[in-house]
């Protein structure tokens, strides 16, 4: 550049540096809780006209249909518009919140997230949740305040930072047409996999279904769920995890494709099961099985596998990001979603089949009869059967530690 224009060059440099500076300038979140409410009437008044974006896992057609066709019209009566934003992983929603907080946005686009477990804990660490608002919800009166599943979420105290939505039970599923003698404990499941090479696999953690399977195996190789302390400690991890990874590494050659690769998520495992490439699948949402069998996606022999050592159960919640620009509307949605009518509607097998978080014994007779009258699914047993011998989730700190250990010990062996 011989005939340089020093001024315009400097100007151009300054102009291009500005956006950079602007981005670097707005570091860690500066958001504070918007309008904390004391009265429900005030919430109802503010909610009128608000549009609530509910970010939730979008891979479940029944869940999508329930929110669009049943929940959205119900909240519309309060003047609230409910928009469902499908994500492939709840982390995507949480990441959106973090990114907006990082950028200093107080008018966040995420108003509600279907969340639990390590995502909830991470959000709490980053102060991304609005807290102390669930006591305001009139529907909370129908829940059991002493229910351990609602008091803490994977060991993280809920503290009114999320409203309960439904309960889930981790469930193994097999094809009764191809598995003549189904195993009855987790240890037998692993033995069965070794005796039937190529007919079993599990999603690769950090996928949440694969992750919970690894925790179930941890409980099994440790001599039972009671032998694994719920609170994470490096000492407990160092003591218990070698047996887990030894077992899974030993199992790998007997898995689908010789453990050379794993399905990336529950949907891919379900595809293998539907195609008859494996004889077992697993899910945190057994409610979806009814429809999958009815429409012929899954084989007619699809049967829930009850394990004597029980499986893990948890509750999932609706979290309200601290920078939501429609927090009143979001509270109304959470309250309606927790009402008896919505919980009953959602529990119907042909709607979504999700297990209620309400305390059924504490309901009045009329409401209780609604739950008693629910039709049974031909595939999925009722919650009290599914949750027999169930155990609670380990604390959320266990999850990333076990997932990362699985990557280094089992996946890249």
């Amino acid at each position: 550049m011989t005939s340089a224009h020093p001024r315009s060059v400097r100007l151009a440099a300054a102009a291009s540096a500005l956006p950079l500076l602007a981005l670097v300038g707005c570091a860690a979140p500066a958001a504070t809780a918007p309008g904390a409410y004391d009265e429900w009437d005030q919430v109802l008044a503010d909610a009128k006209g608000q549009t609530v974006q509910l970010w939730m896992y979008g891979g479940d057609d029944q869940g999508n249909a329930y929110v669009d066709d049943i929940l959205a019209p119900a909240v519309a009566e309060y003047g609230v518009t409910l928009e469902r934003v499908p994500v492939t992983d709840t982390r995507d929603a949480l990441n959106r919140v973090f990114t907006e907080l990082q950028a200093g946005r107080s008018d966040g686009t995420v108003d509600l997230i279907w969340v639990n477990g390590d995502n909830f804990r991470t959000g709490r660490e980053a102060d991304a949740w609005l807290c102390g608002w669930t006591d305001l919800l009139p529907s909370m009166a129908n829940t059991d305040p002493a229910d351990p599943l609602l008091e803490s979420d994977f060991g993280t105290p809920v503290d009114g930072c999320e409203a309960p939505w439904h309960k889930a039970q981790f469930t193994l599923v097999y094809n009764a047409d191809t598995v003549a003698e189904p195993p009855t404990t987790m240890a037998e499941v692993l033995d069965w996999a070794e005796a039937n090479p190529g007919r079993f696999t599990y999603p690769a953690p950090p996928d949440f279904t694969g992750s919970v399977f690894v925790r179930e195996v941890l409980a099994s190789v440790s001599g039972g769920a009671d032998e694994v302390p719920a609170a994470f400690s490096q000492a407990a991890f160092d003591e218990l995890s070698p047996a887990l990874y030894d077992r899974l590494t030993g199992l790998a050659p007997s898995l689908w494709r010789g453990g050379d690769t794993y399905p990336a998520n529950e949907a891919e495992l379900g595809q293998l099961f539907a195609d008859g490439q494996v004889d077992m699948t697993m899910t945190y949402g057994p409610a979806t099985l009814t429809d999958l069998v009815a429409d012929g996606t899954y084989p007619a022999g699809t049967t829930v596998l009850p394990l004597e050592d029980g499986t893990v159960g948890n509750a999932s919640f609706l979290g309200l990001p601290v920078n939501s620009d429609a927090s009143a509307g979001a509270m109304v949605v959470a309250n309606v979603a927790l009402s008896v009518e919505q919980q009953v509607a959602k529990a119907k097998p042909d709607v979504w089949g999700q297990f209620t978080v309400l305390d059924i014994d504490g309901l009045d007779a009329a409401d209780r009869s609604l739950f008693d009258a629910l039709p049974q699914s031909p595939v999925v047993p009722p919650f009290d059967v599914l949750s027999r011998n169930a155990h609670g989730e380990l604390s959320a700190e266990w999850v990333p530690a076990l997932d990362e250990g699985w990557r280094t010990n089992v996946l890249s062996r």
Binding site: S16, P19, L23, A28, L101, D118, T261, L411
Partner: protein
């Protein structure tokens, strides 16, 4: 598209300044996106932009998972190089068929134009449905899943490479066709009249004149394959991961401390892409047609 040297356009200083002003809006928008995005990524990678806690500057994010990063670089380079090599070969051959002007050429041109408009995500899903163990192809052929080669999620990344090669070859074909349809065809005819055979014309006329477009199209395809997430995620295997898949997994990691590591992987990807572009320009300078 012509690569003949263009004489410097005469003009007053005012005209040049007006020209600069005209491109300023486009340059500004590009600068905000590229510099802002890269700047934010750099700041995160070097620990200057934490989600929680104080900033801790350092290069820890680059050295946190050296094995994962090294294997990701290897896998990504392998996929991008293989698919680009196939795409350049197929695309150049297709371009020559297209400019032949026969019916076959028109069919190939139509196929190429349609292929370019299909989004990579749709392409990946299609290849997956076609080539998976229990996909359309093995079902049509009556081959059971266990006997079908592991194209999807297999050790050779066959489905991923096939998708990139298919999409990019159409892109290369269209770019090269554009070059061949210009004065190159006149040179080709002249050479034919002078008695040059097909191979000689290809070797001494077509290839040298189209080489710059081939190099540019190949470089664009290479850089795209290097940074593309969805194809590798849908059709690839869980380990080892290509760079973009590794970056997204780390970015989505629930322990917030892995975000700088994701940014570091993205920076490494960008550096490789920029180096590719630099090499491309170096190669272009050496081609006869560019000079």
């Amino acid at each position: 598209m012509s690569f003949a040297p263009v004489p410097r356009r005469a003009g007053t200083g005012a005209a040049r300044r007006r020209g600069a002003l005209m491109v300023l809006p486009a340059v500004t928008v590009t600068a905000i996106v590229v510099l802002g995005g890269l700047g934010a990524t750099l700041a995160q990678a070097f620990g200057l932009l934490p989600i929680i806690g104080p900033a801790r500057p350092g290069i820890g994010a680059f050295t946190a998972h050296p094995d994962d990063l090294a294997s990701a670089v290897g896998v990504s380079l392998g996929i991008a190089a293989t698919s680009t090599a196939i795409a350049v070969t197929v695309g150049t051959a297709a371009a020559i068929v297209i400019v032949s002007g026969r019916l076959g050429g028109r069919i190939v041109a139509g196929l190429g134009a349609v292929t370019v408009t299909i989004p990579h995500l749709i392409g990946a899903a299609t290849i997956g449905l076609l080539l998976a163990d229990a996909g359309v192809l093995p079902r049509l052929l009556g081959i059971p899943p266990e006997s079908w080669p592991a194209f999807v999620g297999g050790p050779w990344w066959a489905a991923v490479i096939a998708e990139f090669a298919w999409k990019e070859s159409a892109f290369v074909a269209l770019v090269v066709t554009g070059t061949l349809a210009t004065r190159v065809s006149a040179f080709d005819e002249t050479a034919a009249l002078l008695g040059a055979g097909r191979w000689k014309r290809f070797r001494h006329v077509l290839l040298p004149l189209t080489l710059p477009s081939i190099i540019i199209a190949g470089a664009i395809g290479f850089v795209y394959a290097l940074g593309s997430y969805e194809v590798a995620w849908l059709l690839g295997r869980t380990y080892p991961e290509p760079l973009p898949v590794l970056a997204v997994r780390l970015f989505q990691g629930v322990s917030l401390d892995s975000r700088p590591e994701a940014a570091a992987v993205a920076i490494v990807t960008s550096v490789i892409a920029l180096a590719t572009v630099a090499l491309t320009f170096a190669a272009l300078r050496r081609t006869a047609a560019w000079r």
